[in-house]
Amino acid sequence: MLSLLKQHVAQNGSDVAAAAAADAGSSPIFWFIVLGYFAVVLGFGSYFAKFNKSTSDFFFGGRRFSWWLITMSIVATGVGSHSFLKYSGKSFEHGFSGSMAYMNDWFFMPLFIFGWLPIIYYMKVRSIPEYFERRFNAKVRALATGVLLMYMLGYVGIGLLTMAKTLGPILGDTWSLMEIIWIVAVVAGVYITFGGQTAVIFTDLLQGFILLFAGILLFVLGLNWFGGFDAFWNTLPAEFKLPLSNFNDDPGFNFVGIFWQDAVAGSIGFLFMNQGLVMRFLACRSVDHGRKAAAFNILFALPISAIAVSCAGWIGYGMMTQDPTLVAPDTDPDEVFVIVTRILTTKAGFGFFVAAVTAALMSTVDTLINAISAVFLNDVYQPINKMRGVEHNDKHHLKVAMIASAAATVVGVGAAWAFSLFDNLYEAHGFFHSTFTPPLVACIFMGIFWRRFNTNGAIATFLAGTVMIILGRMLPYELIEPIAHGVPTTDPETGEALTTPFKYIGALYNLLACFGSGIIVTLLTSRDNKNLEGLTMFSLTAARKMFKGSAPNDAIGFPQTVTYKLDATLPEGAIRMDSEAMQHLAAEQGDLAYICDKRKWLGGLRSAHGHFDGMHDLGETVLLSQDVYDNGHFLAGKLLVVEKEF
């Protein structure tokens, strides 16, 4: 294989990636692995469909899952469809700093862990636009809904198109771009439409493991190719090994710009404005588990993900220094992942890596589709029906949610088709994203942490912020250059002026424009006459109380392992235990309870929430009301663990 690749490099230059991929695509084993992967994913959807009995199940998985399950699913969601190609390419060009965006997300964790997360959880905020109405008014909600829906639908289209472009060279001329897009969309659409959030979480769990395993395996194979870590390390120049890029020398890739774009704007956007991620945290069994999921993800999963998605670039660079006939110095960075993977693996192994890249796409798209469905139902369908005076039950809403998921998939395919025809549409989405997300981010941020921030300020953040951002694009030298930290505006090689200067550092200007507009208008206008209890981080005690319905009980108790019985006479949401168990739990009448199958590896799949209601004298048994029993999906003969929440 190596000699074949070398021959291709000599003859065709950068076409080697397509040749290598097409070679693998001709193997039946390759197709067995890829199709097998699709079959497993579809199986997940049909299996988890039975766990969807309400919209709470469909969108939030019944708020039942353990932190580790959510962590792994977030890993899969965070590693986008283009991550392997993009970060391998960046790392091939810029070294270890190519993946620095994966390792700078901690700075806003205090505000997330003790601010945004408890607010959305305890206030049962089902979507970001809903928070805007509660915090400000219906107009701000409508504004946010429109922006979020357009952004997410466009993003589904881009994800599908990226995937098709990745798979294109592998499939050769037999499949067109749109055929590939339809196949991936149908597979993703089916399991999301029927399986909802539970299917998304479990599919993403599987996909998260595949992604990380594939990436780390590639790294190990690469190290083996060099003859060990020392040999690999010594091959690389010192600058290549630095984890942070040049401060401001390179206008195309500089530290200071990436800091403001990614570590600040990107981190806030990811943690605070990502509807899919918000829903994932709401699927946690408690705020504490949400905190654990977020912390573990950023502390450990992201550094591992950085290695997984970037290592092909490092290995490729090392190979290039050792044998330029194998990986040519002028290799297109976007092709490094495919070239390195094909060099290091067999055809079957390559199939596995294609499955991993597909997994990266599916796990991003499934989260977005579920999120779009939630925003449509919660912020479009229900408010319109409310205005018309029409009321529907939850069963009807569940149907609407499923139809919305299917429709979002189809619209996403339409967007992918449009993006494939017009390059300027792709650019338009990028423009839309960079223009409208900073105002949203600024609004949420100030809404949570600044009580004085008012509705006028929020509208100004949206409108004036957007106008200022557009002005910044039109007058970059006048508006952005003064705060650009000396980032050059000319191409370092040709000396010509860049057509789009301040590519990254522009984020600092955008943030200043939005925060500045919001702050100035808020200070110049009167306070909102509105009850903000539970909606800012200054009233979280009230939020907990509202969530529970009475004063929280924080006395420390111990979980109890018990058998269970159904008692259909108990009121809705009630469970009943004996006095000794209540004492061990430090629980009182009305306290919230979490009841879970004893097998921890299920991650809370078979669990439910309830509240303590009276006591019995049946010993180590918990009596469950009909709805708790139904929601828990408990299996006969299995032991349960009961915990007091607060």
Binding site: F108, L244, N246
Partner: protein, 73 residues
């Protein structure tokens, strides 16, 4: 990537990252205590406050060690 990186190239981004990033981080810590969102009297909140500080130190150490290794090992 031929020249050996000087101090500005190697350490300036690190100082900026944990200096300016540190201001955001400390600002966040100040806000969560001021607002009483993080209540030191509660055991779990104390634990989480320590995790937050650990996270900052963890990444600062990780990046510091990486830079040191790139320059010296």
């Amino acid at each position: 990537m031929d020249e050996f990186p000087n101090f500005d190239r190697a350490w300036l981004p690190y100082i900026y990252l944990y200096g300016v990033g540190g201001i955001f981080f400390l600002g966040g810590m100040f806000l969560i205590f001021k607002s009483k969102a993080c209540n030191w009297a509660r055991v779990s909140h104390r634990r989480w406050a320590k995790v937050l500080i650990f996270g900052y130190c963890w990444y600062a150490t990780l990046h510091g060690v990486q830079i040191y290794a790139a320059l010296n090992i």
